[in-house]
Symmetry: C2
Amino acid sequence: MAREAGVSTATVSRALAAPASVSEELRRRVLETVERLGYTPNAAARNLRGGRSQMILVVVPRRANPPFFAEVLRGIDTVLSAAGYSVIMGNLDQEGAKERHVVEMMAAGHIDGAIILSGKVPVSGERSMLDTGLPMVSICAAAEGTHAILTDEGETIVEAARHLVGLGHRDLFYVAGPDGNANERIRWAALQQLFAELALGDVRVRRTEGNFQFSGGVTAAEAFLALAERPTGVVCCNDEMAIGFMKTVQAAGVRVPADVSVVGFDGIEFADFCEPTLTTVCQPRYELGATGARLMLDLIKKPGPSAPTTTLLANEFKVRDSTAPPRQPRPGEAPAKAAPGDAKPALVPLTIS
Amino acid sequence: MAREAGVSTATVSRALAAPASVSEELRRRVLETVERLGYTPNAAARNLRGGRSQMILVVVPRRANPPFFAEVLRGIDTVLSAAGYSVIMGNLDQEGAKERHVVEMMAAGHIDGAIILSGKVPVSGERSMLDTGLPMVSICAAAEGTHAILTDEGETIVEAARHLVGLGHRDLFYVAGPDGNANERIRWAALQQLFAELALGDVRVRRTEGNFQFSGGVTAAEAFLALAERPTGVVCCNDEMAIGFMKTVQAAGVRVPADVSVVGFDGIEFADFCEPTLTTVCQPRYELGATGARLMLDLIKKPGPSAPTTTLLANEFKVRDSTAPPRQPRPGEAPAKAAPGDAKPALVPLTIS
DNA sequence: CTGTTAGCGCTTTCAA
DNA sequence: TTGAAAGCGCTAACAG
C-alpha cells in the first residue's frame, strides 16, 4: 500500500492520523491512493500498538426488560458512536459463563471501559473487573467502586405512594421487584420510611414480590384477588408488573381505577396504551444512557484512578387514568378500611405467599 | 510471565492452546503460574496474529422496535456467546455516520462476520460490507448477497386477512409499514394477491401508511375515524401500530371488536396485555436470532464464498379477543358493505393522506 | 517534512 | 518436547 503511493508506511500513518504533519503534496497522494485501493488500517494492529480498542463493554442484567433498557442503550450508543467508539453487548446469562467471559475480555485488553446496567461489577473467581483499573460507569443501579448515574427513585416512588394516600387510599398493596434487586431495595426502603412517617394506625400496607415481568404482575394480581379485604391502592415496582396486574384483576371483574388504583414505575411507552393509561414514574431512560456514556468518555480522556462519583437525574411522576379516589363502600358492603379495632397495627408489611 | 514460570513464551502459548503438546510437568507449572499471576492473553495481539477477533457485528435498523428485536438479539447472543463470540452492536443512526463506521470496522478486520437485521447490506461510498468477503447472514429481512433467515410472513398475513374475511368482514383497512420497508413490501404484495383471488367486487380494501410505532397506529386511527364509511376489519403490519390503533379508536367511542376487528403482526408480549388482547401473527423471534447465529458459526467454520441460501421459519397465527364478526347494521344505519352499485371497483387500495 | 527502525504480545514454523 | 526467532500491521521515536 505504501509502496503503491511511493512513500513509507510511516508517512501513510501520519497522513491519516495527523494530516498537518505531512506536506500538502504527499498528503494528497497518500489519500488518493488510500481511496483508490480502499485501504483501511488494521484495527488489531492499531489496538496492539496503541493499547486501546475503541470498544466499550455494556453489561446488561440477565432478564433485562427491553422496553426499559433498549432506550438506555440507545442513549449509550448514540453518544459513544459519535465519539468513534463501539459497543460490545455483555448480556449476562443464567449460568455465569458470560460473566466470566466479560471479565476476561476486560483483562485481555479488548475493551477500553465498561458500562454496567446490572448493579454489580462482574466477577469471575478471584478476579473482578475492577482489577483492570479501566474506567467503569454504572447506570440505573450503583455498582460498588464505579461512578454511578442514578435517579431519585426513592423520592419518586414515595411521590407515587403519596399520590394514592392523597386520593384517600388507606389500604395499600406493594408489588415489589425481585428479592435482592438493588432498585427494589431502594424503593422499598423509601416506602417504608414514608409509611413510618405517616400517621400511624392510618395506613395499612401489604407486599408481594414480583419478577419485573408481566407475569409477575399476573401473579401479584392473583394474590390480590385472593385477599379477603382487598387493598384499594397498588404501587408496582415497574410498569410491566403494573400492566400485568391491571389486566388480570380486570379479567376478574375488578375495575381500575374505580375499584382499585394502580401506579407503576419506569414510564415505558406501553404505559400510554394499556387500559387504563398508567399513572407512573417516568425515568429519563435515554438521558441515563447518554449521561453515563459521556462520563465514560471523560474518564477515558483523563485516565488514572478517581474516586467514584454519583450523578442523580430526576424522574417525573405522571398522573394518568389508573388512579382515582377509592370507591365509597356501598351500604352493606365491607369497608375497604381496616375495622376500628385493627387501628393499632398500622404498618403491616406482610409478605404474601 | 514466561520468565516467571521459567519457560519460553512459546511454551506458555502451547500450554494454553494445545495442552497435549506440552509435557505434564511444564503444563502444570505454566497453568499454576497463569493462575497465580492472573494472566490473560492479550486479545489484540492474538487477533493480529491469527486474523480473527471472535467478534460478530449485529446491524440493527434505525428505529428498531425493542419488543421485537430484543428477543431476536437474545437468540443471537445466546448462541454466539456459547461459542465464545461476542456481539458488537451496530445500531444504524439517522445520518448514516454509523453505517460508514460499521463498514470500516468490517474492513479493518475487527470483525469475523456480520448479522444484518436491517434488510440491506451497509454501504459506505463505494464500499460495501460484501467486499470484505466475510460471512454475512441477514435475519427477518433478506439483504442481497447474504444468507437469509426469514419467516413465511406473506402466507401468515394472508391467513390473518382471511380470518377477517371468514368472520364476514368485507370492508378492510390495512395499516402498512413504512414505505420501502422490505417486510411491508412482502406483506402488502401477499395481501394484494389474496384480494385479487377473492371474489371480485366483494371485498374493499383501503390502505394507510404507518411507522411501525405506537404513533403510527394513532395516526392511522385518526385517518380511520375520519372516514365516512368506516371499515370493519383492520390489518396492521405490526403489533405496536395495532395497539396504538385500538387505543385511539376506543377513545373515540369505537368498540373493539364489536365495531371494528383488529389484527396485528409480530406477537410481542404486549399483545397479551392490551385491551382487548390482540389477534396477531406470532413470529419465532428468539429462534430467528438463534438460527441466524448458528448459520454464522457454520459459515465461519468453513470459510470461502458460498451461494446465498434462504431458511424459512414458520409463524403462528393466534386468535385472541380483538376480532369478531362484524356488527349487523341496525335499521336506519348505513351498511358497512359497499352499496350494490359500487360492486364493480372491488379492490380499492386508496392511500389515505 | 520524511524515511528508517523498533517493538506492541502473540503464535507458529524451524531447529535442536 | 522445548526454545529461538520471525513476523502479523501499525505507530512513535529518532535520524536525516
